[in-house]
């Protein structure tokens, strides 16, 4: 069944059309990648789904609920977990504390005044960390972790909301190649096992073609191609504007190296 559908999403920034009539659908357990060159409108599209941006036109529907223009916190409560291009975590908290905080929020307990926060949802938080392979680091301050590990913790935080849909903005940005593959494998496994839909943007084509069930190609705010990895790879338009230029890929690699 359709978990998420976007119909005719449009967004302008000043005179620039960042997204034009973007429509797609995503099923439970499916991994859908949005790719495109820099400035193609990936993040804009993404943020319109996640509630960080309000679309100028179009609709976003999550499992039949219209969530267009809802703030992120409400989108979250409807079962959407989110990770960011630059990992967003609570830097003053421990690894465990970050996940506990997410669980406290998920259970609507953020206004409790007397309970000991560090004692709440410990087991559940450890279990989540275990799912992303970070249980051993639970007691460390999150600021001490390698970036790849921070990304894993961020995934655990996103999973704390028991989401039906995961939104992952460049989940592997800034990670070493080996870390990237294992993170994507982890996401993919979780998605399949638990029937969670995953919408993600990605620069790393290897990750995209290895894990995405379907791919959207955005260029200058418009979808120019969509389909399975094989279909997209074979699309002449895509090859022309995107994959065909060997220089583009090299540039993308160089950029990633700079990020790290």
């Amino acid at each position: 069944m359709t978990l998420l559908s976007a119909d005719g999403l449009t967004k302008r920034f000043g005179g620039v059309l960042a997204a034009k009539d973007v429509s797609f659908a995503l099923n439970a357990g499916e991994m859908l990648a949005i790719i495109g060159p820099n400035g193609a409108g990936k993040s804009t599209t993404f943020n319109m789904v996640g509630g960080q941006l309000k679309p100028d036109g179009g609709r976003v529907t999550l499992a039949g609920h219209d969530i267009t223009g809802m703030p992120p916190r409400e989108v979250c409560r409807l079962g959407v977990g989110r990770t960011f291009q630059v990992a967003q975590t609570f830097l003053s908290f421990s690894v465990l504390g970050n996940v506990q905080m997410a669980l406290i929020a998920h259970h609507g307990q953020t206004r409790r005044l007397l309970a000991e926060a560090s004692a709440m949802h410990r087991e559940a938080a450890l279990a989540l960390l275990d799912r992303v392979g970070m249980a051993a680091q639970a007691g460390r301050p999150i600021g001490e972790l390698a970036y790849g590990d921070v990304k894993r913790v961020e995934l655990a935080i996103a999973l704390a909301a028991a989401p039906r849909l995961l939104l992952m903005d460049e989940p592997t940005a800034g990670m070493a190649p080996a870390e990237r593959a294992s993170l994507m494998a982890l996401v993919s496994a979780i998605a399949q096992r638990e029937g969670i839909g995953v919408l993600f943007t990605e620069h790393d084509m290897d990750a995209v073609f290895a894990h995405a069930d379907r791919i959207l190609v955005l260029v200058r705010g418009e979808i120019i191609a969509r389909g399975t990895p094989e279909e997209v790879r074979a699309d002449p338009e895509v090859q022309r504007v995107y994959l065909g230029h060997s220089g583009t890929r090299a540039a993308a690699r160089a950029r990633r190296a700079a990020h790290g």
Binding site: G50, Q52, P71, P72, R73, E74, C76, R77, G81, R82, F84, V86, A87, Q88, T89, F90, L91, S92, F93, S94, G97, M101, A102, I104, A105, H106, Q109, T110, R111, R112, L113, L114, A115, E116, A117, S118, M120, P141, G143, I157, A158, A160, A161
Partner: protein, 617 residues
């Protein structure tokens, strides 16, 4: 009203605007580059006036020429610029790496020191400056006489704006200032000598303040209260214009000049608060001022300045807390005055703790926390004096009044962030102050109200001390509990990353609002206790100086520590109480103590304690 009068009144407004802009431009440039909220800017203004009233008459002895007058004014500005360099080199340079709020505290120390140094150097008597030769007369504009010197001042503002524009766009130094204002880290990355840039900026900023002061000498006598009278207004101008924006400051100064010139015609009694009403209104509509930009989100992940993961007290901490508590309980064995001071420290500790609940735990920097302290005191005091209720219900009402007013103001405050949020809290505090000050029939105006004494059973110093100890310790223990509880953790989480907090389903604004309200209620309770310990209430309880005192206390204590603000309150009050009976120049020593503590304990007393214990705070 006649047109000629309206025209002249508008010209008066332009002259004030011009003067205000010259001062505010320096403040906004310094903030843009160094991100330091420079309280000492008003002191530079005052120094400019004092240097000029010393130098200019001496020059005019040679020849009463306008050129010598203006040469004297410019030299005064340069001299003050050198004072700015002195402050940068000897003080600020050492603390660029410490939390930004600490720099603010250090500049506040400079304010206190300069106040007393000016008294020592020039004496307490106001010193009138000479009028500008050639501009002594009045000029007829239609049928109204207008001072020639003010006509001249009207052109000074735009001239300074033009010169600053040239500096910013035509010189390397100016380009660097603009670059640093937009992205401080980038300038560092480009290999620019930051120390030179900052020194130059402080020179420019202080010289502009000095110029502003020196230009005033034909209009006002140099006096030791000049610094504080100008600093709040200069802040208002920079905030309305957008911190770091020179054209914004110009626009804001124009607005404020006209607002005051015509405001006195319509509301002759509320000139005090008019500018703050404007600031509050601007910030509510434009959260970054007229021409300001959103503060660039830090590209790198930085550890927040504030309370980190709070842990249970270790053994040494427990021992320390126990000793402190025993000390509080044993004070009556010492002497009567120690009891009195101890009671005050307890009250201030609660107020400071509630402020650090916001600042350290929530990342919500309030410059106006005394408002809730004072409103709590008024809530309690009015119930006793006007409604004839006894102390007990009044003390219950104090936190309710403090909390309710915090809820009202906080609704707008939590929409902002960073320095603008701080400035909005300041504006609201000033508005509350003005209401209390002006509403004479109810509040007794600035005379305040007397007769706020405890019930008979708590009337003795000792009984009231124990009552205060019981209430403040209970409140502090409760607030500490909240810091450890999910609500406190949520505030910390929202401080660390509002985006992440939002994405896990936290209504960040709502939680901040509730936190602001809770802190206001605690401050209100402290205010109520304070009122009964003094027997009177008056508007100074809501004033900026007290808000700054509270900030000093938490910074001295250490904002990254849960319990440090208690030590900070005790230390601050003890230093003040030690020096006040000793000398008239206690402000000098208080200022020196503050700077010494900033330099020696850059993470506050709690940070020093943690280092002593060999662990991170």
């Amino acid at each position: 009203m006649e047109w000629s009068f309206l025209l002249v009144q508008a010209l008066s407004g332009l002259a004030s605007a011009s003067s205000l802009f010259v001062i505010a431009s320096g403040l906004t440039i310094v903030f843009g580059v160094t991100r330091i909220v420079n309280f000492a800017h008003g002191s530079f203004y005052m120094l400019g006036a004092y240097v000029a009233v010393t130098l200019v008459p001496w020059l005019l002895e040679f020849d009463r020429s306008p050129w010598l007058f203006f040469a004297g004014v410019l030299v005064s500005a340069v001299v003050v610029g050198l004072f700015g360099v002195l402050m940068e080199v000897t003080l600020l340079r050492r603390i660029y790496r410490v939390p930004e709020l600490f720099q603010l505290l250090a500049t506040f120390g400079v304010v206190l020191i300069v106040q007393d140094l000016v008294l020592l150097a020039w004496g307490p008597v106001d010193i009138p400056g000479p009028r500008a030769p050639g501009l002594r007369h009045g000029v007829y504009i239609l049928d109204q006489r207008f001072p020639a010197y003010e006509l001249f001042l009207i052109f000074v503002g735009p001239a300074v704006l033009a010169l600053l524009w040239l500096l910013m766009h035509r010189t390397r130094f100016g380009v660097l200032i603009r670059a640093a204002t937009q992205d401080r880290e980038m300038v560092g990355a480009l290999g620019v000598n930051q120390a030179m840039l900052f020194t130059g900026t402080l020179f420019l900023g202080a010289a502009l303040a000095g110029l502003g002061g020196a230009l005033q000498i034909p209009r006002v006598s140099a006096n030791p209260q000049m610094d504080l009278s100008v600093i709040t207004e200069a802040f208002v101008v920079t905030v309305i214009g957008g911190m770091g924006s020179v054209p914004g400051a110009f626009l804001a100064a124009l607005l404020i000049g006209q607002l005051q010139a015509f405001g006195v015609l319509v509301f002759p009694k509320i000139t005090l608060v008019l500018v703050f009403l404007l600031m509050a209104a601007v910030l509510v509509v434009k959260p970054w001022g007229l021409l300001g930009r959103p503060e660039a989100a830090a590209g790198r992940a930085v550890l927040p300045e504030g309370i980190l993961d709070p842990r249970p007290l270790d053994l040494a901490g427990k021992l320390l807390a126990a000793v402190a508590l025993l000390g509080v309980l044993a004070l009556p064995l010492l002497d009567a005055y120690a009891v009195k001071v101890g009671t005050e420290v307890l009250v201030l500790a609660l107020a400071a703790f509630s402020l650090n609940f916001l600042v350290g735990n929530g990342g919500i920097v309030s410059f106006g926390h005394a408002a809730y302290f004072g409103l709590g005191a008024y809530g309690a005091g009015l119930l006793v004096t006007r409604a004839g209720l006894p102390m007990e219900p009044a003390l219950v009402a104090a936190p309710i009044v403090g909390g309710a007013s915090a809820a009202l103001f906080g609704f707008f405050v939590v929409r902002l962030s960073g320095i603008y949020l701080a400035m909005l809290t300041l504006a609201f505090a000033q508005i509350a102050y003005a209401v209390v000050f002006q509403w004479v029939e109810v509040t007794g105006g600035d005379n305040g109200l007397v007769g706020v004494w405890p019930s008979a059973w708590a009337a003795s110093r000792e009984a009231y001390h124990y009552l205060t100890a019981a209430v403040t310790v209970a409140a502090i223990v409760f607030l500490r509990r909240v810091i450890h509880a999910p609500f406190g953790a949520t505030l910390r989480a929202a401080r660390d990353s509002a985006q992440r907090a939002d994405a896990i389903g936290v209504d960040v604004r709502m939680h901040r609002w509730l936190g602001f309200t809770l802190a206001g209620a605690a401050a209100g309770l402290a205010g109520g206790l304070y009122a009964f310990s003094k027997g009177s209430i008056d508007p100074t309880l809501l004033g900026i100086p007290l808000s700054v005192d509270f900030l000093s206390m938490i910074l001295l204590g250490g904002i990254q520590s849960v319990l440090g603000s208690i030590a900070g309150a005790a230390a601050f009050h003890a230093v003040k109480d030690f020096f006040m009976p000793l000398t008239d120049h206690w402000r000098l020593f208080l200022g020196l103590s503050i700077i010494a503590m900033v330099l020696i304990f850059p993470r506050g007393l709690a940070g020093a304690w943690a280092s002593l214990r060999g662990r991170a705070a």
